[in-house]
Symmetry: C2
Subunit: 417 residues, 2 copies
């Protein structure tokens, strides 16, 4: 007979075929793309074959529900199956598949001994966590938790003008399910960094998210002939944007290694023509740090650079959107529960921070939440070559199963009873 571990690895290998990029281990499965739609159909069948009822809400979150205790709230566990363009097969997807298999296992146990069930079980595949095709990221869980308006999310368009509503309808994944009563939430993810691998840790107990300051800048210059116009007459928006990108990288060296991460991943030029000095560039720039103080210092320094650019390059630089947060903790009781389970299972563990956001970042503000990591080789992430070893995938599955088992029995939830 197939062991639960074999069953997981078998389903995992099928799962990784949707949107697979040939001759790499990676995938290209952006939100509501054709492969995302095909994978959701396959995942629905998998859930149904284990007795779960599949439902979709209005923003395309896909739920698998198993009612064991009529009328009781649900333990919810999951992550997201959408990917960045040409990315790894583990990011998000591992969390959904481990959640499904953890629930399959716990469901079997509770069917055998219904007296141990206090809550029902639900698996979730959140819509559009990546935010690459449709902004913002974590769209499905943001709508679910009321942090983003449904109508705003549905009206968001991709660069080809397709709306979220249209894209979800095209793959038949928009529903009308609502009102799920969630008792608690658990999520597991591959670490997007290499500290756990370096320290020989199998289970990461996520205690907080890094502090961050994210900017959307608009740099404005003036269109001019890029050959004939005198250099002194130019107001080059792309030159200004390039100076910002370089300045962000140079900021890093003013702090201790690992204390500041900066990035610009998205930059769009207008009119983007070979012989025209750009009149406008929009770019996204992030500062991230475990320390809010470092973010503040870096912010001040960045603004000084911008002030110099305004004078020297005669370009305007506006912040058209910004969003910042201090170190954002996960509930301590969840970290402690996860630590105890790791001890019981004899798995090495350590408290870690997450630099990236996850759907659990939304859920933890609503219900008791556990967030877990397993190691990723060399910390490679958002890259076709992302890789996590089978033994770590299975250790994470075993741990998450333990978490779901405890949550289904009522752990972390304080009641008036």
């Amino acid at each position: 007979m197939q062991t639960p571990e074999d069953a997981f690895l078998s389903d995992w290998s099928i799962h990784s075929r949707f949107g697979a990029v040939e001759d790499t281990g990676g995938v290209d499965r952006q939100a509501a793309s054709e492969p995302d739609g095909e994978q959701r159909k396959w995942f629905a069948q998998l859930l149904e074959s284990h007795g779960f009822e599949v439902q979709h809400d209005a923003i395309g979150n896909q739920f698998g529900l198993l009612e064991l205790v009529p009328g009781a709230p649900y333990v919810l566990t999951g992550s997201h199956m959408d990917s960045q363009p040409t990315a790894g097969r583990f990011d998000g997807a591992y969390g959904v598949m481990a959640s499904a298999h953890a629930c399959f296992r716990v469901a079997e146990e509770l069917r055998a001994d219904p007296s141990r069930a206090r809550y029902n079980l639900a698996v979730v595949n959140w819509f559009n966590e990546e935010g690459s095709r449709f902004k913002p990221s974590m769209m499905g869980s943001s709508v679910f938790t009321g942090k983003l308006a449904l109508t705003e999310a549905l009206a968001t368009v991709d660069c080809g003008g397709v709306s979220v509503a249209g894209a979800l309808d095209a793959i038949g994944e928009r529903g009308d399910f609502s009102g799920l009563d969630v008792a608690s939430y658990a999520e597991i993810h591959v670490q997007q960094g290499r500290s756990m691998e370096e320290e020989g840790v199998t289970i990461g107990l996520v205690g907080a998210t890094w502090a961050a300051h994210k900017f959307e800048f608009r740099v404005t210059g003036e269109q001019a002939h890029s050959g004939a116009t005198l250099m002194a007459d130019r107001r080059d928006a792309l030159l200004g944007a390039a100076r910002l990108v370089v300045a962000a990288r140079e900021l890093v060296d003013r702090f201790e290694p690992g204390m500041l991460h900066t990035a610009c991943g998205e930059l769009n030029v207008y009119p983007n023509s070979p012989v025209v000095v750009a009149s406008e560039v929009q770019l996204l720039l992030d500062l991230r740090s475990p320390s809010a103080e470092v973010i503040r210092e870096a912010h001040t320094s960045l603004m000084d650079t911008i002030e110099r650019m305004r004078h020297e390059d005669r370009v305007e630089v506006e912040v058209i959107a910004e969003h910042s947060w201090d170190q954002n903790p996960y509930p301590e009781a969840g970290v402690e529960l996860a630590r105890e389970i790791a001890e019981d299972l004899g798995l090495t563990h350590a408290r870690v921070l997450t630099v990236a956001g996850h759907d659990s970042t939304n859920m933890k503000d609503e219900v008791p939440t556990v967030m877990l990591f397993v190691p990723s080789v060399d910390g490679v992430s958002h890259n076709l070559a992302e890789f996590t070893r089978d033994e770590d995938l299975l250790a994470g599955l075993a741990h998450l199963t333990g978490v779901v088992r405890c949550l289904a029995a009522g752990a972390l939830v304080q009641t008036d009873e």
Copy 2:
């Protein structure tokens, strides 16, 4: 009765309405766009109303032909009506309209006294001089002169995947006219610089094109999570590209003012997602100078910067296309003819260089050619605010009429007779 000057200004004001950008003096009329198509239809009617026969060749060059001497070659004069996105209404368009009206005037004279005609008259509206929607620039005149293969040009696609063939068919501007026997060529354009305005010169006698070195670079890094990945582990293609843009600007300051123009107007990022370190950036970078020696020094210095980037930022930088030329002279006999005509008309004149390329750059290698400039206020170009005064437009028309008159009588052409 309407004077020829009034007729020109009246047609010019109608002409500037096609693709006009509201509340600006400018236009947005990229090659084979809807407004380009509408304008071509109107222009065909204008030519026909003056007795010219309208023809299109296979790359969408639009010709107006008037046969006065059966079987004789043609004096060809024109420029282009397509524009950059959100650009001025004078660039190219003035040249086509001045050419048409110069031919209307000379045609009238020759109809009155056919003995003075040695050649026939043709006006041309070259397809896609700008190269913003479809690359390369000067596409129509490059195909006409055999420097670019027709099949290659027709297969070129815009960023939405529309081919030149498809776009020309959509506006009904692809034809099968061929075999035009050209005796000589004349073109007039607004100066894309401010030397003539500063020196009080009305007619620029274009003697040569600046030397240039144009690069298409591909900077290659590696996709990574833009938040979580350690800074030391990153290979950020956008950082590399930004350093190139800044380095190109800094090169300028090593030379005397006006000796080096550098620019990057087009830059595309992959995957261009907010949370992914870019794995690839393609950008176009130009060096231009009146001196080929300056270009060579700047080139060497740019390559040194790239070598440093390869080591320090761990990105690959490849030149995927490059194209360079030394100062490229126009035929001296054409400059001399234009000088004599300016003297006769009492117009101030000076020999000038052109930094930008023009369709005449292609034609001058094939037939005797005259290239003329009129001043542009503040040298503003590729900008909605581009402006040339009516008196300069009319002085240019008078001069070009003189040139066409001489060419039609056989000037510049050496024959065996």
